[in-house]
Amino acid sequence: MTEWLHPALIFIIGAFLIPLFKGRARQLYLLIPPLAALIDVALMYMGTFGSIPISTWHLPFMGYELVFGKVDKLSLVFALAFTLASVPVVLYSLNIKSGGELMSEYLYVGSSLGAVFAGDLITLYIFIEIMAITAMLVILHGGTEKSLKAGYRYIMWHISGGVVLLAGIIMYVAATGSIGFDAFRWDLPALYLPAILIFIGFIINAGAPPLHAWLPDAYPEASYAGSVFLSIYTTKTAVYVLARGFAGFPPLMWLGAFMTVYPIFFAVLENNLRRVLSYSIINQVGFMLCGIGIGTAMSINGSVSHAFVHILYKSLLFMSVGSVLFRTGTAKITDLGGLYKTMPVTCACCIIAAASISAFPLLSGFTTKSMVVEAAVLGNLALIFILLQLAGAGVFEHAGIKVPFFTFFGEDKGLKVRDPPMNMQIGMVIIALLCIFFGVYPQPLYQILPFPVDYAPYNAPHVVGQLQLLLFAAFAFFVLVKSGIYPTERTAITLDTDWPLRVMGAKFMWFLHEPLTNLANGLDHALKSLASLFAGYGGEKEERILIGVSVGIALLFLAFYLFMQMAYTWIFH
């Protein structure tokens, strides 16, 4: 047995070596960390470092023992998904010029791997916070004024969530005496509040409504490749920590079901394709949280496998839209259309990803989402089932039809652009092939899930039911478009739950800057003029001001004392 190497370390050290390389050498070097990390995780599966579960890399910290490498089947699935996706995504991102952006992306990937293998709450918290900061840097590298502002809003959401999480962790550790990261307990009154605070901290990262607005706000403002990275890691790390910490937590089931339906309406109305896809992340993570909340072996298997394939097809959707953005400079539906003739590879990849996310049979979403839905059926959860199927039709609407149709078909806007450079095409094709592979032959994925799988997705009722649902939804789209009922795209934005923060928050800042500052200046002025009355008592100007201020403060205290005295008399007599 050889010494275990933490995959996060490969990315984190790899990130700091990026500035040493330039040009072609950098492009070659960039592929080494993801490939090395993928091989590392594959070696873990092959038992090179001992059998699962293993637990290594301890560090003493303030009387506690930090565990950096707690490995079991659950963390390994996520690590495999993260490293497997990182290879084609990095291949896609080779054309990025900015070394700073690449470094932030590598640190971001590395810290998400660190969070996945964290064996205790302190390590987990540290890596989640590093993820928030590096993700903000990725957003800032979008390079526009919009991305600058969105990045600041992003970090405000995540620092707030981090504070809530930290408060919960401290209270939880104080109550239980252990920092170990296992399933959280909420069976004692002393554990209610800490468990709820930790839960809130996690669901902010998962993008659960109403705490989701940072996601469609920030992800579309990153660069064409930056948003591919962002779409993979933050929300899926949150799915991982929820799967470990809150499996079978009943509110999570309802939150997840609500989360699958809520973003659909916004995605239907949205004009910016990357915002449509961001809402679609929320919808898909909803399926995962719902499965975690149901809490049976099948539903958790479904959630974990759905996270695995979701990472693939969602990054592929972001990559195909990113390619369009890379070539045309826009990702708005109102500017796009008819690109299938000149971008055939991108179009084919987009359709494969769209069919996967819509859960068409023979593609990867079908073999995994159906486990969550089947778990709802077996649990006799009729309302959850109905909501999930409604969301299934909704996913098909915005991700399955809207994104490919209005980008590559639809009304031709006269844009004549080619497919993106070869490395980007290869990155997309690799993921497209993986989507098909896990759809046709899901057994390798089923074997690595946390619980043994006894489920065959390809049976007649299931295939026909799903195809009826999808094809008749497509038929409805056709009917609504032809009859003019389907809402036409406008250059507009849709307000979401961050409206109070953005409008009222701006007003509050204005209040601090203008009336409050004016009041302070006025008081200051009054005190100074008071000071001038004492001109005779001090030689220097400073002395006079000092006397004046002291007298002013004494008068204020006297007034306050009299007021309190009166209030006391008035209340108690």
Binding site: G338, A355, F385, Y458, V503
Partner: protein, 105 residues
């Protein structure tokens, strides 16, 4: 129903999905009518296949044979109308937030 038939049905579904894009695009594709007829054929195949299937009876609606077809259509129409309703309240100009940004002296 045998595995082969299930696989064939799945492939028919995928074909329906792809031809739908090319058939529904505008300005009209030269074979648009043919492609849309193909898409319609896929719809019919799915409904007919549903009649011959032993549906597992978990919920009362599993008796209805073509429940998923009706539900898919109805769900889609509901979502679009609901979104159109929301649009009246929630959709604003693109510079909505920029206008509300406070300028300090």
């Amino acid at each position: 129903m045998s595995t082969e038939i299930v696989a064939i049905l799945a492939i028919i579904g995928l074909i329906g999905y792809v031809v739908f894009f090319f058939g529904a695009k505008e300005p009209s594709h030269q074979h648009a009518k043919l492609l849309l007829e193909l898409f319609g054929l896929c719809l019919v195949v799915m409904v007919v296949a549903g009649l011959f299937i032993q549906w597992p009876l978990h919920f009362w609606w599993d008796d209805l044979k073509a429940f998923y077809a009706v539900y898919g259509f109805a769900a889609f129409v509901f979502l679009i109308y609901a979104a159109k309703g929301l649009r009246l309240i929630l959709q604003k100009d693109e510079d909505y937030y920029d206008k509300r940004e406070v300028k300090y002296r």
